[in-house]
């Protein structure tokens, strides 16, 4: 019997898992995809919001600033990249300046330090590539950027190291409430647990229906993002927001942790919660609006595009709390700023579980920190040379665009990568300007070798996403050309 089963291995489920493994509990996590973070989390823009944008009087507003402050420590403990690059919300006219002043006020009320209005001279000095039509900007020094998938992997690896029972390819299809526990079927296997945390993202409504709950109601809101070549690194150093409107944060220009520039996201209501298609209109909108902020941005520098679906509740706020089914806790509607709030959401969920009757006693053997994975691209030549003398695989480049070595690929496998996307999100192999043109076959070879399977078994992201197949067979024979 498990104490807690978490449904969903997005950044929220992963953060809750790690938080729960601090205690003397038997915890499992069920993820429907082949690896954690492969749902909406991998498409997240990676912004750790400064905290001033989020409207007061909401649960989002309560959790965002607390969450923001936890990321420095989290990145330090778990060995993933975090940069507090700050953000700049820009105004093109006096009406927008007024809105920015309200945002500044709202941030100061929340106790966020350092928020200040910059006049046009300061804006030009600090971010010379912004549009000349900008009249003022609000600087929020507390904003940052992370890699959302790296955060998921680091959180889950830490949780697993502390005893989390992780199940992937395990979609939950059945939950039954018994007097003192839940019966659950996930990935065809049967589990029992005293409590259940529903962190299933866009699927949270379907999961809640399994125990007869009418909440949450989840609608999908798709966001398209476009990734630009590192050539543009430094075109802006802060995340650039347009002045928000009552309905949208708008299209942003985001200098990612890895120095690519990301532009987006769109916000489009979608019926199909798995509709992650990008579109011609999305692309036009994103580039037109990004160029309004930073005129040097062009479609010509695009190297990749993708989309994710946000889980949205009818009142647009997070829905976190106990339900009419004792022991079943909803953690739903976690859209922006959900990544920022994730650490504080995890703490809140632990508190709610305690109120539901979960016994919490801290373990003495919890290991909160994880060794930082080596990224050759982030090392100096001297550091890399030294590593290579110990292990020559650190001098064997697999992905040339992002300088990823064979040693890093092997390490990613040891840490749990089982697919090409899993390798890519852990190491950046295939994420650069040639988009895997050169390294795909090398990564596939290594993955096949390490897992002891033929290349035809390697997938992009599990299930039916095969990449290559065997040559044509006729009557069971390989056709030989003569």
């Amino acid at each position: 019997m498990k104490d807690v089963i978490i449904i969903g291995g997005g950044v929220i489920g992963c953060a809750i898992a790690r938080e729960l493994t601090r205690y003397d509990l038997d915890v499992a996590l069920m993820e429907s995809e082949i690896e954690v973070g492969f749902g909406t989390s991998k498409s997240n823009s990676g912004i750790i919001h400064g905290g001033h944008h989020t409207e007061p009087g909401t649960l989002k507003g309560e959790l965002v600033w607390a969450g923001n402050q936890r990321w420095v420590e989290l990145a330090e403990e778990l060995g993933f990249g975090f940069r507090r690059n700050g953000d700049l919300t820009v105004a093109f006219d006096d009406a927008e300046v007024e809105t920015l002043e309200q945002i500044a006020h709202q941030g100061r009320d929340r106790g966020i330090p350092g928020i200040e209005m910059w006049d046009v001279d300061r804006v030009r000095r600090e971010e010379p590539n912004l549009s000349r039509d900008i009249v003022a900007a609000l600087h929020g020094p507390t904003a940052g950027v992370v890699n959302p998938y790296e955060a998921c992997f680091a959180l889950i690896e830490c949780a697993v190291a502390n005893g989390l029972d992780l199940h992937v390819n395990a979609p939950v299809t059945f939950i039954s409430k018994c007097p003192d526990h839940f019966e659950i079927i996930a990935g065809g296997d049967r589990f029992r647990s005293r409590m259940v945390v529903n962190a299933a993202g866009v699927h949270a409504e379907v999961i809640a229906r399994l125990v007869g709950l009418t909440e949450p109601v989840i609608r999908g809101r798709k966001g398209e993002e476009y990734l630009l070549d590192k050539r543009l690194a430094g075109i802006v150093s802060r995340t650039i927001f347009p002045c928000p409107t009552p309905t949208s944060k708008g299209i942003l220009v985001i200098p990612t942790f890895d120095e690519t520039i990301m532009v987006g996201p769109t916000a489009e209501a979608v019926e199909d919660l798995e509709d992650v298609r990008t579109s011609a209109t999305g692309s036009e909108t994103v580039f037109a609006l990004a160029r309004r902020l930073v005129p040097g941005i062009s479609e010509r520098d695009c190297i990749a595009e993708f989309a994710g679906v946000r889980a949205v509740t009818p009142n647009n706020d997070f829905l976190i709390g106990p339900t009419d089914v004792p022991g079943f806790v909803n953690v739903a509607g976690i859209q922006s700023p959900g990544l920022t709030a994730a650490p504080s959401i995890a703490e809140l969920v632990v508190q709610i579980l305690a109120e539901e009757g979960l016994n919490l006693s801290l373990r003495s053997d919890f290991r909160g920190s994880m060794p930082r994975p080596v990224h050759a691209a982030l090392l100096s030549i001297e550091e890399l040379a030294e590593l290579a003398t110990k292990d020559p695989q650190y001098a064997h480049v697999v992905c040339r665009c992002e300088l990823v070595t064979e040693a890093e690929i092997r390490d990613a496998f040891v840490r749990g990568a089982r697919t090409l996307d899993g390798l890519k999100f852990r190491t950046r192999a295939g994420m650069g300007r040639c988009q895997g043109g050169f390294c795909t076959s090398r990564s596939m070879n290594l993955l096949a070798e390490m897992s002891g399977q033929p290349m035809t078994e390697v997938t992009k992201r599990g299930s039916g996403s095969w990449i290559v197949r065997e040559p044509e067979h006729v009557d069971g024979q390989v056709v030989e050309m003569t």
């Binding site: 011609a280 190297i303 040379a385 480049v397």
Partner: protein, 426 residues
């Protein structure tokens, strides 16, 4: 291949890339009498992309006979192995400093720095990807560049799919259309957004027509379908501004989409060196000796401009390697005194400058196809051309006698329709 047991701290010439450009440059450099030459390549073997081009058609110009890619590469490699040359494979050039210190890494030698008297950049090109043109739709597996598919089929013995649509009529895509048919795959069609094909005419005939594979011009892919694996693509005709007509779409069932939409010179090292880059070629600006804007740094092959025939790569690289050798041995020819400028219907020109004291081969690409045309070199020379298309490079021999009475510093090259009256200014 001779393994690299000891690497020196100093070389006369370091060549980055052991594809056709690198190998020819190495041979020519050795021919000038320099003694220490190092050729570096990221792959496990020299030969570059030729190793996966197992079809024939190589060498007609250079060797006067028809060879496969690996055979063409082997001719150069065999020659090279007769010389005293160091070849570092599985080896990646991290950086080249302004004073030509090359930082290398490979499992065999670790991370090392070597000083170079001259450097030849021969990194080749990479393929444009789906992301570069933002094809709308989902992101399933099964969308790949034609070159990756070629590597799968020809080198790794695995197939990219069962039914394969091809976007773009670049030569690699055309070659792969035939290759996949031979391997039993279905190729429902090649879709090209431009009103003309992007590959060589001989490839259209031999790789599409001969196999009944349809080529749909002025047509592009407007959506990719499939959650896990490609399930189909929607195509639409485009208008004169290349905008798709979404009222005339149709969906093609397929499990794979190959993209063959052009090559981009791999100039990341060139950019680190701060070389002047020509936006028309995306490669470094080069003189008639293939020297870049930085002293002692030469370039050759697809890194300079995209070629359609490897034979011309070899010829250009011989020039580059020879001049790298001459640079080191202090026998540099006189500097160029004439700048070449792209005029009417000329997209790009290489080299960017020439010298009036010797003969040069100048390579051009046109913007628009013309049935009959005139090539005009300033007011000093003109020549009839049969037909010109953007997919086929035009070469022009510029002889010193053309320039005897020319005293300017810039010559503009135009390629004009022949029915237009042509002034005779000679």
């Amino acid at each position: 291949m001779r393994p690299l047991s000891t690497i020196l701290d100093r070389y006369d010439v370091v060549i980055v890339g052991a594809g056709p450009a690198g190998m020819a440059a190495a041979l020519a450099a050795l021919g000038t009498g320099v003694e220490r030459v190092l050729m570096v390549d990221r792959e496990a073997e020299a030969g570059g992309i030729l190793n996966q081009c197992i079809h024939n058609g190589f060498g007609l110009h250079y060797f006067g006979e028809e060879l496969t890619g690996p055979e063409y590469a082997q001719r150069f490699l065999t020659d090279l192995l007769d010389h005293n040359i160091d070849i570092a494979t599985d080896c990646y050039v991290v950086d080249i400093s302004l004073d030509r210190v090359v930082t290398l890494m490979s499992p065999e030698i670790g991370v090392r720095q070597v000083a170079a008297g001259a450097v030849v950049l021969a990194m080749g090109a990479r393929e444009r990807t789906r992301g570069a043109i933002r094809i709308p739709g989902s992101r399933p597996s099964g969308v790949m560049t034609a070159g990756l598919a070629q590597k799968f089929v020809n080198q790794l013995g695995v197939m990219p799919g069962t039914r394969v649509a091809i976007l773009g009529s670049g030569d690699i895509g055309l070659i792969m259309a035939r290759r996949m048919k031979l391997e039993g795959m279905d190729v429902p069609g090649v879709f090209e957004i431009m009103p003309h094909a992007n590959g060589l005419n001989r490839n259209i005939v031999q790789c599409l027509d001969d196999f009944d594979t349809p080529l749909h011009l002025s047509t592009t892919v407007v959506e990719i379908h499939g959650k896990d694996r490609v399930e189909g693509v929607t195509v639409a005709p485009v208008d004169g501004q290349l905008r798709p007509d979404m009222s005339r779409t149709r969906t093609i069932q397929c499990d794979t989409l190959l993209v063959s939409i052009g090559l981009i010179p791999e100039n990341e090292l060139s950019q680190r060196l701060g070389l002047r880059i020509d936006p028309a070629t995306s490669g470094p600006v080069v003189s008639s000796t293939m020297e870049t804007s930085r002293d002692g740094v030469f370039a050759a092959g697809n890194v300079v401009h995209i070629h359609d025939v490897v034979d011309f790569v070899s010829q250009e690289a011989l020039l580059s390697g020879e001049n790298a050798g001459r640079f080191v041995t202090g026998r540099r020819p006189p500097a160029d005194n004439i700048r070449l400028s792209a005029g009417i219907n000329v997209a790009s020109i290489v080299p960017h400058t020439i010298s009036s004291d010797r003969e040069h081969t100048v390579y051009l690409r046109v913007r628009e196809p013309l049935e009959k045309s005139w090539l005009r070199l300033g007011s000093v020379y003109e020549k009839r051309l049969r037909y010109v298309v953007p997919a086929e490079m035009v070469s022009l021999k510029v002889r010193p006698r053309f320039l005897e009475n020319f005293h300017g510093d810039t010559l503009t090259i135009d390629i004009l329709p022949r029915d237009e009256p042509v002034r005779d200014e000679r």
